[in-house]
Each structure stands twice: as C-alpha cells, then as structure tokens.
C-alpha cells in the first residue's frame, strides 16, 4: 500500500473513532492526551530525530506556550489563538538565544544544558507569583463553549483540535525532512565535520531546527492549558511529565521517522494510564516502576524503536515466505 493511502485510512479512522465514544468519558480523554503527546513527540523529533540533538528541555518551550497564552487570557481577555502565536514567538526567541551557549555541546552535554534551561524557567514560574501565580499555578477562566476562547465542556472538540495539531506538526516534519534543511540536518546528524566541508553551515542549520521545534512545542503548551483548565509549574515545565516524555515517545516509537512519535504516544500514554489505574492502589510508585521496566525492555530489544522492530519483523516474514 502506498504510504499516503495508509495515512488517509488512519486519518479517517481517527476522525470517526470519537463518534463511538462517550464525548465526556475517560477513553476519549486518554486518546486526546495521546494525540497531544504524539504532536509533542513530533515537534521534538525535528531536533532530536532529524539532527540527533537529544533535548531534555522541551518543557521550557511547552511551559512558555502555556503561561504566555494563559497570562494574556487572564489579564487582557486575549483569545488563546492569538496567545498561542505570542507564546510561539517567545519560545522561538528563547530557542534562538539558548542555541548560542549550547551550540558546541553534543550528546549528554547538550541534553543536560537544555534540561538546566527548562529547570530555570520552572523555578522562575514558581517564584514570580504576581504574574505566574507561583507554585499554585494558573487557572484558565472558565467560559465554555467558545471556539474563539478555545473552551468546550465536551472533550470531543479537543480531540479534533489535537488531531489537527498532530497533522499540522507531522506535515511540518515531513516537509522539513524533504527540504534542503532536512538534507542538511541529516548530514549534520551523520557527521558534522563532513557536513561542514561540503558547505553546510551547521550552526545555522541547528538554530533553524531548534527555533521551528520550539515554536511548535509552545503552541502545544497553549492547547494543553486550554484542555486541562489548570496547570502549575511542574505540570508544564516539569522534566518527567513533559521533557523526558517528549523524548521517550519519539525515541521509543522511532526517532527521525514521522510515524515514530505517533506509535510511541499511543503506546505510552494509554500504558501510563493503565498502570495508574491498575497499580496505584497497590503501593506508591509501583505504576512508575512497571512503566520504567517496560521502557527499558523495549530499548534493550531494539534501540532504534518500535517502528524498527515492526519493519524488521515484516521483512523477516517476507524473506521467509520468498525462500
């Protein structure tokens, strides 16, 4: 089957699924979150997958998006759609500035620097009480249903908004991958020095990818805030809930591929929910433990992610058939 037919079938199925679900129920909520985190993994994938710059600080941009649009909404009644653009612009500037000190860093050092950056923002959000509400967090003023204010009583509209975000960001990812920026990113990923000597301005390429990825991540922060109506610094600037999750979703599914983060999110988010439901009554931390064990198992079996596991399996079956 051609890839675009597969894509169209999946998209139609994704559009039909919610009509069978209780629009305010638990299942659609989990699916909506999975779509949101698939989009987050995809935004991360632009930097982490295409350029192999493993960021553990994407919460910085997610949080900037959530706080910017919500502060503008609370104080000036500004539509989150506009606040989303403002948040994306601020995140883009932040990523641009951050790229200078982290430019020469690779591997773990880059990861740690990005992580530290998001932690600084988390601490600021927790202490600048007059603007950010401090450690208590911010509540989005509730006035549903309004498309302009991006608020709905039912989960269904959020489902379609997150689906739209995932489609748009996946589109951006595919477009970049096949553009000259994509070629240059892949060259950079494979060998920075060889890329330089064929004329790739690796500095400029890294900055472009980081800025695009950060702006997209910020828009998801806004959507998250509008979906949950309430967030505190840990929820949007947190290392585990956002930064690590974005990275794991992409890596687990298959970093650098467009379907990787989607597979990753639809595996991880429901798995986390299930582990919470089944295990949280039996002891604190047990669900996280089970979750961690699953992650380690998958990474040990196939470090390139589940997508590679599937494609390897398929090609092995084909070979067996043909022989």
């Amino acid at each position: 089957m051609k890839w675009w037919i597969t894509g169209a079938v999946v998209l139609v199925a994704a559009a039909i699924v919610p009509t069978f679900l209780d629009p305010t129920g638990y299942a659609i909520r989990v699916l909506t979150l999975a779509l949101l985190f698939a989009a987050l993994g995809q935004a991360w994938n632009i930097v982490g997958g295409l350029a192999n710059q493993i960021s553990l600080g994407h919460a910085a941009f997610f949080g900037l998006g959530a706080y910017t649009s919500t502060i503008l909404l609370i104080n000036f009644g500004l539509s989150p759609w506009i606040g989303m653009l403002a948040g994306a612009a601020i995140a883009a500037v932040a990523a641009y500035l951050l790229s200078f000190p982290t430019m020469k860093l690779r591997g773990h050092y880059f990861a740690l620097a990005t992580l530290a950056f998001s932690e600084v923002l988390r601490v600021i959000a927790g202490s600048w009480t007059s603007v950010t509400g401090g450690p208590v967090g911010l509540s989005v003023p509730f006035s549903p249903d309004s498309f302009w204010l991006l608020q709905f009583k039912s989960t269904m509209p959020y489902y379609y908004i997150m689906l739209g975000a995932l489609v748009v960001i996946s589109g951006v990812f595919v477009w970049i991958r096949h553009s000259s920026l994509g070629y240059r990113l892949r060259a950079l990923k494979e060998n920075p020095e060889a890329a330089e000597v064929v004329g790739v301005n690796t500095t400029q390429v890294k900055i472009s990818a980081a800025v695009i990825s950060a702006a997209l991540t910020a828009t998801l922060g806004t959507l998250y805030a509008q979906f949950t109506y309430f967030f505190d610094p840990e929820a949007v600037f947190g290392i585990i809930p956002i930064s690590v999750r974005a990275a794991i979703i992409a890596i687990l599914g298959g970093a650098g591929t467009v379907v990787g983060p989607i597979i990753g999110a639809f595996l991880i988010v429901p798995m986390e929910e299930m582990a919470n439901v089944l295990l949280s009554s039996r002891g604190a931390g047990l669900s996280q433990l089970a979750f961690g064990v699953m992650l380690i198992a998958i990474i040990l079996i196939e470090p390139r992610g589940i997508l590679a596991l599937i494609t390897n399996g398929v090609s092995r079956l084909r070979r067996r058939k043909s022989s």
Binding site: E190, A194, V197, G199
Partner: protein, 241 residues
C-alpha cells in the same frame, strides 16, 4: 612548470594544533593552478592537521593561507567549498542513510534548481559509471571503493578548482586503490588542482608531479615527485626500499 603558472593555494608559516600544543610548526607550501601536489610523511607528522587547517576545521591556527588571492583564515569551514575547494576527509565519510544521489546533491544543494546541477551530476556519473547504476541505493551499503567514489563525486558537484584529499587509499583493497588512482588522474586531467596527503608513498609519488615531506609538523623536503622517489632517505623511510 611551477614557476610559470600562477599560485592557487599558498600556505605561509602556518602553526596549528589542538588544545594549546601545536602540531604544525611553521609550515609553508603552495599549489599552482593545474598542479598535482602530494604531502608524504609518517602517521603523526601532522598531514591531516595541515589539510584540516586549510579547510578551516582547526580553530587554533595562525599564519597566512590564501586561495587565489582570498584570505582563507578569515573564513569559516562551511564557506570554503563556495570557493571551489573540496576537502575529502580521511575515512571517506559518505552520509550512509542517504542515497548516492542525495549524497551528491548535498555537494551542491544550493544549485538544485540550476541546470549546472544536472551537468555536474552527469560529469560525476561519466567518471564513475557505477554511481549512476547505484544512484538510488543507500550510500552506507556500498563497498569501500564505491563510497570513495561517492565522496569524490560529491566533491565534483562543486565548482571544483582544488581537491584536497586525505588518505584516499586508506583501508582499501589493492585493486580498489588502482581505481582510485585512475579516478584521481582523470579528475586532474579535467583541470582540477589536487593536494593529496598519503601514507601510501609510492601511490602518491606516482600520481603527483611535486611533493613535500612533512616530519613532526615541519616541511623537511620539497622536490619534484621524481626527485623524491630517487631520494635515498625517502626511499628508505617511506618507500621501504
């Protein structure tokens, strides 16, 4: 010959190294237009550092390097190819997860819409017909010799004036070394100047017209390839004769 043609690349009194300690101690050499020059020397003599300094990959360097009148010391590594200088680093470095054609494209991605692009691609394919056969194949799945051709082909996608080669024969089977040898001769005959660094001294001296001997970061001999080949010290130290 070298006195009648203009100097293309001029390296004057260059010091370079990593983290405080110099590897090159006042190296001077030049390549005239259309010349094929080689630098021979032992493993740690600083041959790669010399080439990396010319293509601006060694940040800690001083001295004068000019290419056709342009001061290279004020440029960044990624600006060097625009002048028509292609550096083929040691170890070949194809981009393994790209197809052969994508690898070549990367040598000229600014020209993708330009008719010149097709022209140069055809030229590279004429020189290396095997690349044309394998244009859609992942570069990482090619043999060592074929990867070397991809890298040379990628260099030809530039408006190539000077080809800088670091150990192109390294790790290749003898029969493949012969192919690389032929390819270099063809590229040179097509009008490209070449600066070659090789551990395989007999190969280097058989293709180049002039050579330098680099020892511990200093040029100790500069002669025609024939004179070097007949030099008793070179014969003993580098040719094993």
């Amino acid at each position: 010959m070298s006195d009648t043609t203009p100097t293309l690349l001029s390296v004057e009194d260059v010091y370079a190294g990593y983290d405080g300690s110099d590897v090159l101690h006042g190296v001077s050499l030049d390549v005239h237009a259309g010349e094929f020059v080689c630098v021979i020397g032992a493993n740690t003599a600083g041959k790669s550092t010399l080439l990396r300094t010319i293509s601006r990959l060694v940040p800690k360097s001083r001295g004068r390097i000019t290419f056709d009148g342009t001061d290279l010391m004020s440029l960044k590594a990624h600006e060097i190819p625009k002048l028509g200088i292609a550096h083929v680093p040691e170890g070949r470095h194809v981009f393994p997860d790209m197809t052969v054609e994508e690898n070549l494209l990367l040598g000229a991605y600014t020209l993708r819409q330009d008719p010149v692009y097709k022209e140069r691609l055809e030229k590279a394919f004429t020189l290396f017909p095997r690349l044309k056969e394998r244009r859609r194949q992942w570069a990482g799945t090619l043999s060592g010799g074929e990867q070397q051709m991809v890298v040379l082909g990628r260099a030809m996608m530039l408006n190539l004036r000077l080809l800088i080669l670091d150990e192109p024969s390294h790790g290749l089977a003898p029969i493949v070394v012969d192919e690389v040898h032929d390819a270099l001769v063809k590229i040179h005959e097509a009008g490209t100047s070449i600066l070659l660094v090789e551990q395989n001294t007999s190969l280097a001296l058989s293709v180049a017209s002039r050579g330098y001997v680099l020892e511990s970061g200093e040029i100790v001999l500069a002669e025609s390839a024939k004179a070097l080949h007949d030099d008793p010290k070179v014969r003993e130290a580098y040719l094993g004769l």
